[in-house]
């Protein structure tokens, strides 16, 4: 399918933020990353997201010190019976699970799993997507062909079913879940970043730089990368959200890492023990935390989206 060429003149390159003039030397990728970050923070919704995210990171780091109990430890009553399904009390501020474990402690440890999955997936997906996206967009040719064929196939693979099959077959563990998430999400990222690179490399200054004899590496690092950073950040933010959602879904379906407690798993335990609709103190914290975390990532992602699309920016 092609769109009929429009006889209208091709609009000139959309100027970027305008804050940094683009010279033949380009700009440092770090400065560009920082610019993009600053611009994102100007969006008040994104700021909410950043604040929530920061709180979550702090909680994740401090979880072992904040958690009043070992997340697997069974609470006993004075009569020596298991203290199951207790609503919130002073000793267990978030109540206990159907197995007599402290909900608060499990909940707090859940921050670690969620953020670890998010972080590792972000690094892995971000790195691989950027690598392939830039290589295939910049050099084209075989890399590009192969990448595009792979993504054609990959885009027809239903994500969660694939994740279910792969994790069930590989065995449920955080490592495998992250592996599967990486396999699933790099392709979209690479495709998105590739198209951003394709636009960038047609820019006049890139052509100048090339005419001036700059090396490919220099051009990629100083001209291409800094200008696709917003897309990369957008994609990383989205893939962190996808990764967390996928881990939660897999855990909810009973394919979570049994050695770590994640929110999806807490919900799965409540679900599979039939306590889902009664033990609200067990169900609400992980649900709310998941919603907050993923939503704040989306809020941040949205800010990047507005950045990457100049037509969305307010004039």
């Amino acid at each position: 399918m092609t769109v009929a060429p429009d006889p209208a003149p091709v609009p000139g390159p959309v100027s970027s933020s305008g804050a940094t003039p683009i010279t033949i030397r380009g700009r440092s990728p770090w400065a560009a990353a920082w610019d993009s970050l600053r611009l994102m923070m100007r969006d008040s919704f994104a700021l909410i997201g950043v604040v929530v995210l920061s709180v979550f990171v702090v909680l994740a780091v401090l979880a072992p010190w904040l958690a009043p109990y070992d997340p697997f430890q069974a609470m006993m009553t004075e009569a020596g019976r298991l203290n199951r399904l207790s609503p919130p009390t002073a000793a267990n501020p978030f109540g206990t699970t159907g197995f007599g474990q402290d909900v608060l402690s499990q909940f707090l440890y859940g921050f670690r799993v969620a953020l670890m999955v998010g972080l590792v997936a972000a690094v892995a997906v971000g790195f691989i997507s950027t690598l392939f996206g830039v290589l295939s967009g910049y050099f084209g040719g075989l890399v590009d062909d192969v990448l595009m064929r792979i993504t054609d196939v990959a885009l027809s693979i239903p994500t969660l079913p694939f994740a279910i099959v792969a994790v069930a077959l590989l065995g449920p563990s955080i490592e495998n879940i992250i592996l599967v998430i990486t396999i699933l999400f790099w392709r979209n990222g690479a495709r998105i970043i590739r198209s951003a690179v394709l636009t960038e490399k047609e820019r006049v200054y890139v052509k100048w730089a090339r005419a001036a004899g700059a090396s490919h590496f220099h051009i990629i690092m100083r001209h291409i990368l800094p200008n696709v950073f917003r897309v990369v950040f957008l994609w990383i933010t989205m893939s962190v959200a996808f990764a967390i959602l996928t881990e939660a879904s897999l855990s909810f379906l009973g394919l979570g890492d049994p050695k770590a407690i994640s929110w999806g798993q807490m919900l799965n335990t409540a679900f599979s023990s039939g306590n889902l609709r009664t033990a609200w103190w067990w169900v609400v914290p992980p649900s709310v935390a998941l919603v907050l975390l993923v939503s704040s990532l989306y809020l941040i992602g949205r800010a990047y989206e507005e950045q990457t699309n100049p037509r969305l920016r307010r004039r």
Binding site: A4, D6, P7, A8, R314, R315
Partner: protein, 354 residues
Amino acid sequence: MSLAELNARLAAKPAAELRVDGLSVTYNTARGPFHAVEDVGFTVPAGTNLGLVGESGCGKSTVVKALMGLLPEGTGLTGRALLDGDDILGLTDDALRDVRWNRIALITQSAMNSLDPVYSIGDQIVEAIRAHEPVGRATAWARAEEMFALVGLPAARLTEFPHMFSGGMRQRAVIAMALALNAGMLLADEPTTALDPIMQSQIMARIRGIHAHMRRSMVLVTHDIAVVAETCETTVVMYAGKVVESGPTGQVLGRPLHPYTMGLQNAFPRLPVRGAPRQPLISIPGVVPNLASPPPGCRFAGRCPFAADLCRTTPPPVAAAGPQQAACHFTDRAEEFRAAAALPETWRKMRAAA
């Protein structure tokens, strides 16, 4: 209503008179207020054409947008625009509905992008007709066919989509659309800008022909004074959001009072007069001042080869010479300026100074 009835009804509409008074438009941007148009006034007598000329960015299009009620929300708007006595500035969308297209229609600046790509052109014309007249689709379509014929397009192409038309055809389609309700006032906002010169003169000829035939009033916005000279009874010259000179076309273009008008004239090729030396093309050096913080005195002072200190500090008063008016401190020296302005050196000196 049948087509004949519709045609009769529309044909009965008289040409409109437009009187604009003290029109100011201020855009609110992230970097503060931007005075795009300040204190603009002019009158279009019924059945005549008025040419609004100036460089791009001088506020001509903003005037048109203000008259059509198309300014973005939150834009500061003062002054009056009396269309047959009714003020059409600052009306609500609902109130505007009755004015738009019914009484005042628009021929857009870039016909290239001003047609919705996903509807057939016929549908878009029909939409305009049916928004104002209680007619069926068939009648409206028949009217659209007539309008197409009027602008010289085959009726069969009404079913086609904008991307299937060439630029000139699109421009004609837009004109046909503007004529569809025979509004008393037409606003033509640079109708030929995006076209090649041959197409430009064809379109302008078409507009003039239609004008002669239908006797509508029209405001023609353009930067091409040759077009104005050929088409308009009255000319208004704008610079940096303000009217610098206005009056009957012959006077304004023949004996300009304002140095800017003089410069403008130099910037356009004139038909060579047999025997006379070829007039060189002279452009006005410099750029339009930033309207977010306009200069205190005359806005043209920075580019005016005749500017004195007074010009840089005090806004010029409007001086009238009969029906011709100009905003310049030194209208009395216009004769002298005109002679100097015809010499390229005058402007070249400016460039060197800049």
